[in-house]
Symmetry: C2
Subunit: 506 residues, 2 copies
């Protein structure tokens, strides 16, 4: 900290922290909605969430906030510098400006509608009946267009305004610029792999892995990479997520499939990667930008790092294959480490994004990016989503979904109002590759460490370089500070070419 | 409803409902605190609860509330009548008057301190170390004395003010008046039982009842008596409770002991009895007095009805003994229905209130009533609680607790700030006996119905006569309306004499 703080600064911080505390109550209700809420409690929960989000919004847009921000900007004009105080002021201004553009009615309506819409989505997906979801998708799109119109910049695509909420500073054009070369590389790599004669044995991971045993194994792995279960939990939910409620309380969810081993384990490592970020934030800065993650893309870089760069590495399994054989003696009887490693890295076009391999995964994201833009611009009607989805899916992945549950209704995001969110998943993969290279440059051979169960060096490096910095920098500046580079698809492509080149003998 | 409502009435109802909705968020956080909160999340949760309770208090004491109440009282002056509108107005006035006496600082402090105090209590109880709990007990007592001083009536005992919060209209003197004859009767009955030569076999219920099997059996029984699991849950917690979050969401907790069968099952039936009350409230009246339970004593009459008058009846086991034998084949091998029935009704002086039998249970309550009064008046120092507890326990129950975990630290109430709450448990037992007699007078032989698994008649009778009425009447008036009687210990004593006279051949 840079000396004593002005009363206005302290008041701003106090206001932000109280608002965040109220928001954290809503986060807990949101977690509960996905885990333990009884079916008939849905309407009550929607009303509770609408009330809380309205109150949070009211606090976030309080006129006093505007006064404090203006006063502090005047006081510190020209001071510049990348200090925690400057970062708090900068990001508080950003959030305030965005919030004051949103009418409270819209905030409450979005909160209420998306809770009900998610409940409708669950049912529609179960019944594979898009027509039941359509009216809700239409409502959500209408509300998100309203939001984009309210907060967006004149002349910029409406979609920019939504993207910017999840990845501050990112634009549709910038995403295009990096997705286009990435897609070309990935399509080529997928084709090469399809032509390879070496194919891992998928049956190794679709044997029966008893769920009770999986329930023991996943937390053990999460704990090994450093997730603190005395300050967090792992529960089950239809759609896995990580919810950082606040200091000392970070909750992960996963789902178990007895006949698809990777789902729960890599899902758990993925969410634990998010969880490590949340648990690595500065406790005392809770509620201020300095105690908050940078962006969803940076968040995703942490989850994909632990899921893929660590969990799906051969080195990880040098450490974990023996415990796995002890925990799952039947399905792993006679299986070698190498065969197992290759099986959990099988590359195969498939319908479900969250079960996709490292290579095809980003193509799933690009598909959604292609659909979301016209949905928000008004060029694509919600009713036409299934047809356009299937057509684009065929083009990108080479398959045609047999139904909408395996197609456009597979994700929770649209029912939850999270339009503009998907691109951050692919950005996260690219960030992850760049961070991983920087970590290895500094820490030496990481695979050697993983093979000995040493995950602390990488975790501590991430904590120091990323987690504890909070929002001191925005994503692009952080990337530059940590890696010396700008966003690029190349490190990710290099990682994939090297890893899958070896597995598929390319 | 009695015709169109005035704008002021509609505004009052809207205000009450929004306040209750915010309160329901706090209830969910409270439930989570007892069930799934990670240990390190305690401080955050205390801050969240303090914030929410402060906000609820602010809404409950809003000047606009005072204006609306005064205006409506003027409009309806002399109208009288026992209408839903009059009840809503009467009870809203009562809550408002109580709330405006409480400084917001005290509300927040009570909320924060009792969360932390409960966490300290858990640890102190585990370690059987009263000295670790003492500073917290002192804090809680000081705050509750402050509360009683703020809201109490001049000249009345401070304790009245706390009692009245849980049982509106009840006073210390009225409790004394009914506890005194009840104690005499119970002490005599306990002595008679102790002198009986027929003693049920305690070993039948302390054999190993596998917890997994208990986890199946309890919900089955709760469902049979009518608890709707699509609008509720059953989880595990250190201290069993029922939390009616709101329409469609009522949560029960229980705890399992593999070597004490009655604990989880009767605990579950007890909480399910509370749950049936919550689920029987008028959904549309949520947030108003007409959609709220009458008092904790009336609430307890419902839980004790289902736990004792139903669950511990021979008739219940005529229906449930066979399923029990199927679920627990080993411990119940060769056991007869009669022996089992007698074992779950064994009367024996014991240390832990929540495990006490129907006869000695109320003596545990009276002990707490005797200690709470001087604690609040200032005549008993918190530091002296263990000594006075043990002395009184010896006098009432005839035993001396070997440690404070089995003595004055056994209950969650004091750490949770719930001083004045205990008497409602014994009141509930008396109400239950009176309601049960009235139900039987109307419905015919209830035992015959239970033996055939027919619990709907009693449940529906309770729903119509008690649950759906909300706070239309206060407790004494409701009792009179339903049973034609005033509060009396006699029906309870008659029930106990008849039941245990048969079991112990008195």
């Amino acid at each position: 900290m840079s000396g004593p703080h002005s009363p206005a600064y302290l008041e701003l911080v106090e206001h932000l922290q109280q608002t965040a505390l109220l928001g954290s109550c809503a986060h807990l209700l949101g977690w509960d909605e996905q885990t333990y809420l009884p079916p008939k409690g849905g309407e009550l929960r929607a009303n509770q969430m609408a009330l809380l989000s309205g109150m949070v919004h009211e606090r976030a847009t309080a006129p006093r906030m505007g006064e404090l921000l203006s006063q502090l900007e005047e006081e510190t004009a020209g001071a510049g510098g990348e200090t925690p105080e400057a970062a708090n002021l900068r990001e508080a201004r950003r959030s305030y400006d965005r919030a004051v553009c949103m009418p409270k009615r819209l905030v409450e309506e979005l909160s209420r509608v998306t809770i009900l819409s998610q409940q409708a989505w669950v049912e529609a997906r179960q019944q594979k009946d898009f027509s039941k979801f359509l009216p809700w998708l239409e409502k959500v799109v209408t509300l998100k267009r309203e939001e984009a119109t309210a907060v967006g910049k004149d002349g910029a695509p409406l979609y920019d305004a939504l993207l910017d909420d999840y990845e501050p500073g990112m634009t549709t054009d910038m995403v295009h610029a990096v997705f286009t070369p990435l897609r070309e590389e990935l399509v080529a790599l997928v084709q090469q792999i399809a032509g390879s004669e070496r194919s891992p044995d998928r049956s190794l991971i679709t044997r029966e892995y008893p769920i009770e045993a999986q329930r023991r194994f996943g937390p053990r792995a999460a704990e090994a990479i450093g997730f603190d279960f005395s300050a967090g939990r792992l529960d089950e939910a239809a759609h896995p997520f990580c919810s950082g409620i606040g200091p000392g309380d970070c909750r992960l969810t996963t789902r178990y499939d007895a006949h698809f081993f990777p789902q729960a384990l890599f899902g758990t490592l993925h969410e634990a990667g998010h969880g490590l970020y949340e648990q690595g934030l500065q406790r005392d800065a809770f509620g201020t930008p300095m105690g908050h993650s940078v962006s969803l893309g940076i968040h995703e870089s942490q989850s994909r790092m632990w899921e893929n760069f660590v969990g799906r590495s051969r080195a990880f399994w040098e450490c974990f294959f023996e415990p796995a054989c002890e925990t799952f003696p039947e399905p792993l009887a006679g299986v070698t480490l190498d065969d197992f490693y290759r099986s959990v890295n099988i590359v195969e076009p498939s319908f479900i994004r969250v079960e996709a391999d490292e290579v095809t995964y980003n193509l799933h994201i690009m598909l959604r990016f292609e659909l979301e833009q016209p949905l928000i611009s008004g060029d694509l009607r919600a009713a036409d989503v299934p047809a356009v989805w299937n057509e684009t899916f065929k083009k990108y992945i080479g398959l045609t979904p047999p139904d909408d549950a395996l197609g456009c209704m597979q994700d929770v995001h649209w029912s939850g109002g999270l339009i503009g969110y998907f691109p951050t998943y692919a950005l996260g993969n690219m960030y992850a590759a760049q961070f991983y290279n920087a970590a290895e440059a500094e820490l030496g051979n990481l695979h050697e460490q993983f093979a000995h169960g040493e995950f602390a060096p990488l975790r501590d490096w991430l904590r120091t370089n990323i987690h504890e910095r909070g929002q001191l920098y925005r994503a692009d500046r952080l990337l530059k500070a940590v890696t010396g580079q700008s966003l690029s698809h190349e490190p990710l492509v290099a990682h994939l070419r090297q890893k899958f080149g070896a597995i598929y003998d390319l």
